[in-house]
């Protein structure tokens, strides 16, 4: 049975990465209206702002803007590209950096995500993301012994303008056999 591939290591190894760049991701596709529509479709929502250039310009945008909450999606690389072996039956995982930090604990739970949005992302933009580890706070919770680790992701577009800074915190822990499971 496939499981999330968590990189195991020591807290010293994790702490050595504080302030350092963990990874850099480049979105495989340019921002496009079809991608926006498919995303909003799942929530039964439509607005001319996200598909009609004239409307967007009337509201002061330089083009059709993307919903801000799609920023991370636009930074994701391909799961397969020419030259790679076939995906076959392999379970693919998004390359989110927090599970790649070497640390004790096989379990990971997302706890907080704080996003600040700056320059709009427009149709046609290419989004790049740089991830840095910014804090590790050790704690025992009802789940077990572990640490809250926060990664700061800075998203920029091809012009180098920053579009979003997002801080994502996960609790990495060794499940406490006697403890209650997250519900």
């Amino acid at each position: 049975m496939p499981e999330i591939e968590v990189t195991l290591g020591t807290w010293q190894e994790a702490e050595a990465l504080l302030g350092k760049e963990l990874s850099r991701m480049e979105g495989v596709d340019a921002v496009d209206v079809s991608g926006i529509r498919r995303k909003l479709e799942t929530l039964s929502f439509d607005s001319p702002l996200y598909r009609d250039e004239e409307t967007a310009r009337r509201y002061g945008y330089a083009g059709i803007p993307s919903p801000v909450s799609m920023t991370a999606t636009w930074s994701l690389p391909a799961y397969w590209q020419p030259g790679d072996p076939s995906l076959g039956t392999r379970v693919v995982m998004p390359p989110f950096p927090l599970v790649k930090i070497p640390a004790p604990g096989t379990a990971v739970m997302g706890t907080d995500v704080e996003s600040e949005y700056f320059e709009p992302v427009y149709v046609g933009d290419r989004i790049t993301c740089v991830n840095r580890l910014v804090s590790i706070i050790h704690k025992r919770t009802r789940l077990g012994l572990g640490a809250f680790m926060t990664v700061e992701s800075t998203y920029t577009k091809q012009t180098s303008e920053v579009v979003c800074i997002e801080r994502f915190t996960t609790f990495r822990y060794t499940p406490d056999p006697a403890g209650s499971r997250a519900s």
């Binding site: 496939p2 498919r38 409307t55 909450s69 999606t73 907080d112 996003s115 949005y117 519900s183």
Partner: protein
């Protein structure tokens, strides 16, 4: 879209309630969401894998929660407002086969030079689990013209 449908800074005050917006977290909805946001982690749509990982069931991913808040705010603001900050604390997984609703209430209004900043308490809840997500949003609203 007419300008009259757009929320202006003068339209809101501390205590103003944002109309809630909800989504049915069917398994198919979670699959559609994974396809649209490209987070293919199986814990969000493969019940067998989710349970093998120790989860009760598959659950909504973070990007769905963020977009549910964005849609709630966009429906309320119309096209003119801008989302400046979204902060979420996830208290519990939002499991499949229930209705997840997003809510918000204005807690602070600060006029600026060219627009107003409005801070909101925001949260999401399900009938079975109660409040599963809480947080803060900051939106920028234009001043009324004329």
């Amino acid at each position: 879209m007419s300008d009259a449908e757009n929320l202006a800074f003068e339209d809101v005050t501390v205590g103003t309630v944002v109309p809630p917006y909800s989504v049915e977290l069917t398994l198919q909805r979670l699959v559609m969401e994974a396809g649209a946001n490209r987070d293919f982690a199986p814990a969000h749509f493969d019940r067998e894998i989710a349970r093998a990982e120790g989860r009760k069931d598959v659950f909504a991913n973070t990007m769905l929660l963020q977009t549910l808040f964005e849609v709630m705010l966009r429906r309320w603001m119309g096209a003119a407002g801008k989302i400046r900050k979204l902060g979420l604390r996830m208290h519990a997984m939002n499991y499949v086969d229930q209705t997840l609703s997003a809510h918000g209430v204005v807690v602070e209004c600060t006029p600026g030079r060219t627009a107003g900043m409005v801070k909101l308490d925001i949260w999401q809840q399900t009938p079975a689990q109660g409040k599963t997500v809480s947080g803060r949003a900051v939106v920028e609203l234009p001043f009324r013209t004329k």
